[in-house]
C-alpha cells in the first residue's frame, strides 16, 4: 500500500488558530512522511508542551506528548531502547530553548539519531504570548506589556556548537522546501535540527509572514554546500556558524551543516555491546516460558562470581 500525505492525518480536530504557521509545518510533515513512506507503527513523534506540542495528535503515527521542555529526554530513551524507530521531536522555542535547553544541547553531544523540529514563533504561544528565547531584546510584540529585556539565542549557532550533525532552517510557509528539509533530516544518520520559522498569527505581530517574505532566502540559491568532507568538519562548522550570525535583515533557510562521519550514540552502544545491535532491547528475552528469569541459579553464580564466596569446607 502506498501512503499518501492524507493517510497520515488523524480525526483529531486541529485546534491551532486560523492562519497559524503550524499548519504549514504539519502539511510539510505529512508530505515528508508520504515521500519516505514511513511506517506509522515504527515512527514516533515526541513533543513537549505548547501549541507545537499538540502536533503528534494530528499525525497518524505513534505520538508521545510529554512534558514542557522534556521531549528530547523522553525521545532519547525511546530511541536508545529501540534504534529501529524513526523518532521525531516537535517543540516550541520556549520548550526546546528555554526550559528544555539542557536537553537540547545534550542531544547534540550525544548525536542520537533523533530529528528535532523547532516551531520557532519567538513567543510562548499556549501561555498567551510571553517573550521566548528567540525574541530579540528590545522588541515588543503585542502581547507584551513592555519591550523584551533579555537577549535572544541563535538556535542555529547553538545547535552547531552543541554537536548536531545536521543543522537546517526552514520556513513554515514554504512547505515544499520545508518538506525537503524534513526528508533530508530523517534520512540523515545522527542528531538533526531544523529551526522552523513559524509565524504566530495571534501573539507575534512582528514576525509575520510579511516579515519573513521580505527577508527569507535560500542557501542553495547561493550555492551553499553544507556537507562536511572527511577531516574537514571544523572548517565547515566555522563557516556554518559564520553564516548563522547573518543579521535579521536577510534570513537564510536551507541546510547549514551536515556531517555524516560522526558515530551515533546507538552505534557506540552497539560497538560496546554487540548484542544490543543484534536483538533490539524490547525483543530480548528476559524470562523463560514459565516466567522464571533467564538468569537462573547457575547463571547467577557465574555472572556474579565476584560477589559469591564458596565457604571453605570443614
Amino acid at each position: 500500500m502506498v501512503r499518501s500525505p492524507n493517510d497520515y492525518r488523524t480525526d483529531v480536530w486541529v485546534d491551532w488558530c486560523p492562519g497559524c504557521g503550524n499548519y504549514g509545518i504539519l502539511a510539510a510533515l505529512y508530505k515528508a512522511f508520504a515521500e519516505l513512506q514511513l511506517d506509522p507503527t515504527n515512527t514516533v513523534i515526541v513533543s513537549g508542551i505548547g501549541c507545537s506540542g499538540k502536533t503528534p495528535h494530528f499525525v497518524k503515527a505513534n505520538g508521545v506528548h510529554t512534558l514542557h521542555g522534556r521531549a528530547i529526554a523522553f525521545a532519547t530513551g525511546i530511541k536508545v531502547a529501540n534504534p529501529n524507530l524513526t523518532v521525531i521531536v516537535h517543540g516550541g522555542d520556549g520548550d526546546l530553548l528555554g526550559i528544555g535547553l539542557g536537553h537540547f544541547i545534550a542531544l547534540g553531544r550525544k548525536n542520537v539519531d533523533i530529528k528535532v523540529m523547532l516551531h520557532d514563533n519567538r513567543v510562548y504561544g499556549l501561555t498567551k504570548g510571553q517573550a521566548s528565547p528567540t525574541l530579540s531584546k528590545g522588541l515588543k510584540t503585542k502581547s507584551l506589556p513592555q519591550a523584551n529585556i533579555i537577549n535572544s539565542l541563535n538556535p542555529i549557532a547553538l545547535a552547531l556548537v552543541s554537536g548536531y550533525t545536521f543543522v537546517a532552517r526552514g520556513y513554515s510557509m514554504l512547505s515544499e522546501h520545508l518538506k525537503n528539509l524534513i526528508v533530508a533530516a530523517i534520512k540523515h544518520k545522527g542528531s538533526a535540527f531544523i529551526d522552523i520559522l513559524q509565524p504566530c498569527i495571534t501573539y507575534n505581530n512582528i514576525h509575520t509572514p510579511e516579515y519573513y517574505r521580505k527577508r527569507v532566502y535560500m542557501l542553495e540559491d547561493e550555492g551553499w554546500d553544507p556537507n562536511v568532507r572527511e577531516g574537514e568538519a571544523q572548517n565547515t562548522l566555522l563557516k556554518a556558524i559564520q553564516k548563522s550570525l547573518e543579521s535579521d535583515e536577510r534570513i537564510p533557510i536551507g541546510i547549514f551543516y551536515r556531517n555524516q562521519y560522526n558515530q551515533t550514540l546507538e552505534e557506540a552502544y552497539g560497538q560496546r555491546t554487540p548484542s544490543y545491535s543484534k536483538t533490539l532491547l524490547p525483543w530480548q528475552k528476559i524470562c523463560k516460558e514459565d516466567g522464571s528469569p533467564i538468569v537462573d541459579e547457575k547463571l547467577f553464580q557465574k555472572l556474579f562470581k565476584e560477589y559469591i564466596v564458596k565457604v571453605k569446607k570443614g
Binding site: 555491546t273 532491547l281 528476559i286 522464571s292 541459579e297 557465574k302 555472572l303 564466596v309
Partner: protein, 626 residues
C-alpha cells in the same frame, strides 16, 4: 577500623569481609564517611559472628583499629572495657588540637572532656588513660617501620608502599582473630583479580603485622569455627545486591545521574552491560549517564514506552527533580522503577549519611493524584527480592514504583545466603503486540493492554487528560472516567498484592511491646527482640509497602496492643511511618524512638531506649555514633 578517607580502608573492609565469609562467618559492616574525597575521617564498623548472620551493628566495639590519630580521638569512647586498640606509635605525641580535619564541635567536646579527665590532649596521655581506667589493651605498632620494611623488601618507593598502609589494619585484625592465611590469600586474589604484585605486597604486610600482633598479644579474639553452615555466601553491599537483582529481574535500561549513595549501583551495573557468561550473551543492558535527573527519569520512561524494563537510581536531591516526570508516568500509566536511596536531608543535607526522612515525600510527590507503589526494604536479601518485585509490579499494574532504600543499606557490606531464584518470576502484565484499532487507555478495565512503541500498533500517549486513544480530551465525563480508571488501580493493587510482600510481623504473637519500623531499622529491631530482658516479650512490625498501604491488617494488629506499648522506631524526626498509620487507620502511635544524626540505630542504644519507653517516655531521640 578508621582512617582518612581515600587511604584504602574501603578495600581493607572488603578484604576482611571476603576472608571471613570464606571461613563461613556472618558479618555486617557499615561504612561512615564524609562528603569528601580525601583526608576526612572515615571508618568501617564491622560485626562478626560465628553462629549467625548479624543483622545490625552495636556498641561498644572489641577492637578499634586506628590508622591515624584522628581515629583514636574520634572513637576511643566506642571501645569496650578491656577492648583493644591498635594505633600508630609515631602519633603518640600528636595532640587533637593540631589535627585540622577534626570538626570544631568534636574538638570542643574533646577539650572539655580532656580537661575534666586531666589529660593533655596527646594520644599518649589518652591511651595511658584508657589502659588505666578502661583496662584497654594498647597495641601500638610502628606503621612507618612496617611500610619501610615493605618498601625495602619489594624494592619500591616508600611513597608507593604507603598505599598499603590500610593493610596494617587488616593484619592486626587477622592477628587478633586468628583468621587463617588461606582465607586472606583467597580474599586478596579475589579482590585484586590477577594482579599478583598487589596480592603479594598486601599479603606480606598482613602476614607481618598479624604475626607480630599474635606474638605480642596473643589471639585475643579467636573466632570459634562457624556454625552457620552455608556452603556459599553472597558478600555484597546493598548497592551491589540491587544491581544483581535488576539484572535477574530483566532490566535492560538504567539511566542515572551521579549521586551518593545511589551511583555505585549504576557503576556496578555498567560492569554488566554485555551480560555475558562464558562468552555467551544473555542480552544487553544499557546504562546511561544523563545530563541531569530529569533526563534520567524521562529517558527511563521513554525506554519503558518502547517496551524495555527500565529504572533509574537516585537519592533525595535527584528524586526531587524527578517529581514532574513521576506524575507523567502516573498519568500515562507507564511502568518505571525508581530506586531511591535516602540520605541525610533536607537539601544537600548530609550527602554521605543515612536517613529515612523521605517517606512522606515519596507518597505524595508530584502534583495531582495517581496510583503508585512505594515499597521499602529492610536488609540485603529483602532488597534483592523487592527489586524484582518492583519491576514486576510496575509492569503488571502499569504504574511507577518507588523502591525506597537508604544509605545504610546501600553502603553496608553484609554476608547473606544466595537468593532463592526458584521463588522469582518475571511478570510483565497485560501485553498486546498487534491490534488494528488499538486503544492504549481502554476504559473497560483499569488495567489496559499495553503495547510497545514499535509493535504493530499505533498509540498516543499524553500527560494531558486523554481519551481512550490517548488524545487530549477535556470532556468532564471522560475526565471522571479516566481519573477513576487510574485511581481504581489502587484498590486492585491493594486487593491483589499479597500481604506478605507488604508487611511482616516478627516476634511472639503474645508480645507486650510492639516496635514499628521500616527499612534498615529492621535489623536492630529484630536483634532487640532477642536481646530484650526475659520478662518483656517484644515484637516488631516491619512495614514494607506504604502504597497501597495494608491498612486493615495494621489496624487490627495494633488493636491487640496497649497503645502505651506501641513505639515507632525510625530514622527521622516526625516518625513518618506512624503518620501514615494514623492517616489510614486512625490509630495514632504515640511513642517513638527516633534517630536523625545520620548514623544507624545501634542495638544497644535501641535496647536502652525501649526501657525508657517502657518507663513512660514518649519520645526518645538516639544519638550514638561518630
Amino acid at each position: 577500623m578508621g582512617g582518612p578517607q581515600g587511604s584504602g580502608l574501603e578495600s581493607s573492609a572488603q578484604i576482611l569481609s571476603k576472608a571471613l565469609a570464606y571461613l563461613g562467618y556472618g558479618l555486617i559492616s557499615d561504612r561512615e564517611y564524609f562528603s569528601n574525597i580525601k583526608g576526612r575521617h572515615s571508618y568501617t564498623h564491622m560485626r562478626i559472628s560465628s553462629n549467625n548472620i548479624p543483622l545490625a551493628l552495636t556498641y561498644p566495639v572489641q577492637v578499634l583499629c586506628a590508622m591515624d590519630a584522628e581515629t583514636v580521638f574520634t572513637h576511643f569512647q566506642d571501645l569496650d572495657e578491656k577492648g583493644s586498640i591498635v594505633y600508630d606509635i609515631s602519633t603518640l605525641q600528636t595532640k587533637y588540637t593540631v589535627i585540622p580535619s577534626i570538626e570544631p564541635r568534636l574538638r570542643e567536646r574533646l577539650r572539655v572532656l580532656f580537661s575534666e579527665l586531666g589529660l593533655d590532649g596527646t594520644i599518649s596521655s589518652l591511651t595511658r588513660y584508657l589502659k588505666a581506667v578502661k583496662k584497654v589493651r594498647l597495641i601500638g605498632l610502628d606503621y612507618q617501620n612496617i611500610i619501610s620494611e615493605v618498601s625495602k623488601k619489594f624494592e619500591i618507593l616508600p611513597s608507593q608502599a604507603t598505599r598499603y598502609l590500610s593493610s596494617i589494619a587488616v593484619g592486626s585484625i587477622v592477628g587478633l582473630t586468628g583468621i587463617g592465611s588461606d582465607a586472606i590469600k583467597y580474599s586478596l586474589e579475589s579482590r585484586f583479580q590477577g594482579n599478583q604484585t598487589l596480592v603479594e605486597h598486601n599479603n606480606h604486610i598482613i602476614e607481618l603485622v598479624s604475626k607480630n600482633v599474635r606474638e605480642d598479644y596473643g589471639t585475643l579474639y579467636e573466632l570459634s569455627p562457624s556454625s552457620i553452615g552455608l556452603e556459599k555466601m553472597l558478600v555484597a553491599s546493598g548497592n551491589d545486591i540491587i544491581a544483581m537483582a535488576k539484572i535477574v529481574g530483566g532490566l535492560r535500561f538504567q539511566s542515572y545521574y551521579p549521586i551518593t549513595p545511589a551511583a555505585d549501583e549504576s557503576f556496578t551495573l555498567e560492569g554488566f552491560e554485555r551480560l555475558e557468561v562464558e562468552g555467551e550473551s544473555l542480552g544487553s543492558l544499557i546504562v546511561t549517564q544523563t545530563e541531569d535527573e530529569i533526563a534520567a527519569i524521562a529517558s527511563a520512561i521513554g525506554a519503558s514506552l518502547a517496551g524495555v524494563r527500565s529504572s533509574t537510581s537516585t537519592s533525595g536531591p535527584g528524586f526531587s527533580l524527578m517529581v514532574e516526570a513521576l506524575g507523567y508516568a502516573g498519568q500515562v500509566e507507564a511502568p518505571v522503577v525508581i530506586t531511591y536511596y535516602q540520605r541525610g536531608a533536607p537539601s544537600t543535607g548530609q550527602p554521605t549519611r543515612g536517613a529515612q526522612s523521605d517517606l512522606l515525600f515519596t507518597l505524595y510527590a508530584s502534583h495531582g493524584e495517581f496510583p503508585r507503589i512505594v515499597l521499602s526494604s529492610g536488609d540485603h536479601l529483602e532488597a534483592f527480592y523487592d527489586t524484582i518485585l518492583a519491576l514486576n509490579l510496575a509492569e503488571k499494574y502499569q504504574v511507577p514504583v518507588i523502591h525506597l532504600l537508604d544509605k545504610f543499606l546501600a553502603n553496608c557490606i553484609a554476608t547473606s545466603p544466595l537468593p532463592d531464584l526458584s521463588k522469582v518470576k518475571v511478570e510483565r502484565g497485560k501485553l498486546v503486540f498487534e491490534m488494528p484499532e488499538y486503544k492504549r487507555f481502554n476504559l473497560s478495565h483499569p488495567i489496559s493492554s499495553r503495547a510497545f512503541l514499535g509493535s504493530n500498533t499505533i498509540q498516543w500517549v499524553a500527560g494531558d487528560e486523554h481519551d481512550e486513544l490517548g488524545h487530549i480530551d477535556e470532556d468532564p465525563v471522560n475526565r471522571k472516567e479516566m481519573y477513576e480508571k487510574r485511581m481504581k488501580k489502587l484498590e486492585i493493587m491493594d486487593s491483589e498484592i499479597p500481604l506478605e510482600y507488604r508487611v511482616s510481623y516478627y516476634g511472639p504473637e503474645e508480645a507486650k511491646l510492639l516496635m514499628i519500623g521500616w527499612g534498615f531499622t529492621k535489623g536492630a529491631a529484630l536483634e532487640a527482640i532477642g536481646r530484650m530482658r526475659e520478662n518483656i516479650k517484644c515484637a516488631y512490625l516491619h512495614l514494607k509497602m506504604f502504597s497501597p498501604f495494608p491498612a486493615e491488617y495494621v489496624k487490627s494488629l495494633l488493636e491487640n496492643f496497649d497503645p502505651k506499648n506501641i513505639v515507632a522506631v525510625e530514622h527521622n524526626y516526625l516518625a513518618q511511618a506512624s503518620k501514615i498509620i494514623a492517616q489510614h487507620t486512625g490509630v495514632k502511635v504515640e511513642k517513638s524512638i527516633l534517630k536523625y544524626t545520620g548514623r544507624p540505630i545501634y542495638v544497644d542504644e535501641l535496647l536502652k531506649a525501649l526501657e525508657r519507653v517502657l518507663g513512660g517516655e514518649r519520645r526518645v531521640v538516639l544519638e550514638y555514633g561518630a
